[in-house]
Amino acid sequence: MTRRHAALGFLGLALVVYPFVDRNNSHVDFLANAGAFILLALGLNIVVGFAGLLDLGYAAFFAIGSYSYAMLASQQFGIHVPFWLMLLIAPVVAALFGLLLGAPTLRLRGDYLAIVTLGFGEIVPQTFLNLSQYTNGPNGISSLDQPSLFGHAFGFSATPYYYVLLGLIALGILAARNLQNSRLGRAWMAIREDELAARHMGINTTATKLAAFALGASFSGLAGVVYAAKLDLVSPDEFGFNVSVLVLSMLVLGGMGNIWGVIVGSFVLSFINSFLLPQSTSLAHAAGFVNVDFTNYRFMLYGVILVTMMLFRPEGLIPSRQRAAEFHEAILDPALAAQEQSEYEGVAR
């Protein structure tokens, strides 16, 4: 307990002083980008990890968060809502869209939900693209309002965003933990295990699942605001299926359902993705190996990570206790799996 707290305190301190130690702004920039993905992953973890709802279109909410900042804090419509206020508004907007998507579809059984969310993930960015009179279509919306704090504009340094994200992640962790150990968190777990029995406990399964969708979406909306402000730009091609899968992979890699696992997973994949591969390719080129291109094997690498993780350590790097048990004991017990499967057949009304 105390050792754990000490370790956390140390980690927190290290993260706070980091930008003072490493003066390379691109590193801080990378960390800030990774931070946005950590925030995304924390949110998706609520939906998939806690409530067990497979959402394959999570990037849509990211898009909604980003675009709401772009539309409400830029020259686009001449509206300039302050960044800090948007941190409150965008999550609510995203959550509302979460409800909008969830309300008609949450009655669907797992895989149907997956495909509908996948479709939602396709059509949201597509709609932003198509409504070009409001969104500038493929060009996206640029030169968004720069946040400022006590009169200091953030400018083009990644550092202030880094701190904003650090704070948001800390809050996100706290929120996720609180949720997990609460009436709502138990209800999610129960629904995941046996929806019908959960209903007999008095759990309103639809409302509970909607809460997961809305909360998950709000994290995504929050990440969207910071990401858009930091990038000073939104464009519709940033929010494709790839992003949804990337975030899902982060959960899988780190350990679904486990907050720290999810954070580690997102950091590791971000690191590989936007730092290790491009940089090492560049190094190889500089060293004369001009035909080496690690980035081109990105998909291969992801694929291999996903497959081998699932085969050999399906509970992730830092698993949740419950998930680990589900994976391991269930693997041992075909009987239970089959029973669950046949119960699953009974489509709840």
């Binding site: 391991h328 004991e329 017990d333 075909p334 009987a335 029973q339 057949e345 009974g346």
Partner: protein, 239 residues
């Protein structure tokens, strides 16, 4: 030589040892009862015999051949029928289709028709429900179907895992009667029952499992008479 010989079986679920050195034999024509408390390992024993799980140690010899390494499908083909715990009927298939699947390993159409009639005669309720999806049958109806389905493969050794579970008293009697009849027609039976009294009532011999080990093994009559078995498994209630 016995039809089925199980020797020194060890089985694990993860790190949990479910069976420890279980040995038993079932001779041709016998009804052997396997009784024991919940979690003693009865189901695990049957699962190991029919190949649904692999024993860590020990030998399983059926009809003179070691079947310990064979898959369940092959074991069924060799003549072991297994009506599993929890009914496990094919929920989205009709009663008729379930029965057809019971005869999956058999090829003769004539034999099939004959067996079909025979099991429906035993369980007339199933005849009324031939086209119902079996997932919507009542618990007891599913139990009948599971047993009927196992009979369709004309096994030489029929293993039944708690066949009377959830059945009405009248059907419990029917089930035990049917087991006896099947046996009289030449099918050897290995029976797991919580209803130990009745099981021992029709069995020739019995084994008592306690936490993964065979604790007693004797003729049914002797087991019924044994004080230790009575106290633990036959219950104090008046019979």
């Amino acid at each position: 030589m016995a039809l089925l010989e199980v020797d020194g079986l060890d089985a694990f679920y993860g790190r949990i040892r479910a069976l420890e050195g279980v040995s038993l034999r079932v001779a041709q024509g016998e009804i052997v009862a396997l009784i024991g408390a919940n979690g003693a390992g009865k189901t695990t024993t049957l699962r190991a015999i029919s190949g649904l799980m692999r024993a860590a140690k020990g030998h399983i010899v059926f009809d003179g051949h070691d079947i310990g390494r064979l898959g369940p499908a092959e074991i069924v083909r060799r003549g072991i029928g297994h009506s599993p715990e929890g009914r496990r009927v094919f929920a989205r298939m009709t009663v008729r289709e379930n029965l057809e699947l019971g005869a999956f390993t058999r090829t003769s159409g004539a034999e099939f028709a004959e067996d079909f009639e025979r099991v429906l005669a035993i369980f007339p309720r199933l005849r009324e429900r031939l086209t119902q999806k079996s997932g919507t049958l009542s618990g007891g109806e599913q139990q009948m179907l599971a047993m009927a389905r196992a009979l369709m493969s004309r096994p030489r050794l029929l293993m039944l895992d708690e066949p009377s579970l959830g059945l009405s008293p009248i059907l419990v009697q029917t089930i035990f009667r049917v087991i006896r009849e099947i046996n009289e027609r030449g099918t050897t039976v290995l029976l797991i029952e919580q209803n130990a009294r009745q099981a021992l009532g029709i069995a020739t011999r019995g084994y008592v499992l306690e936490v993964g080990k065979i604790a007693f093994e004797d003729t049914a009559a002797n087991l019924m008479a044994s004080e230790a078995v009575r106290a633990a498994y036959l219950g104090g209630g008046a019979a």
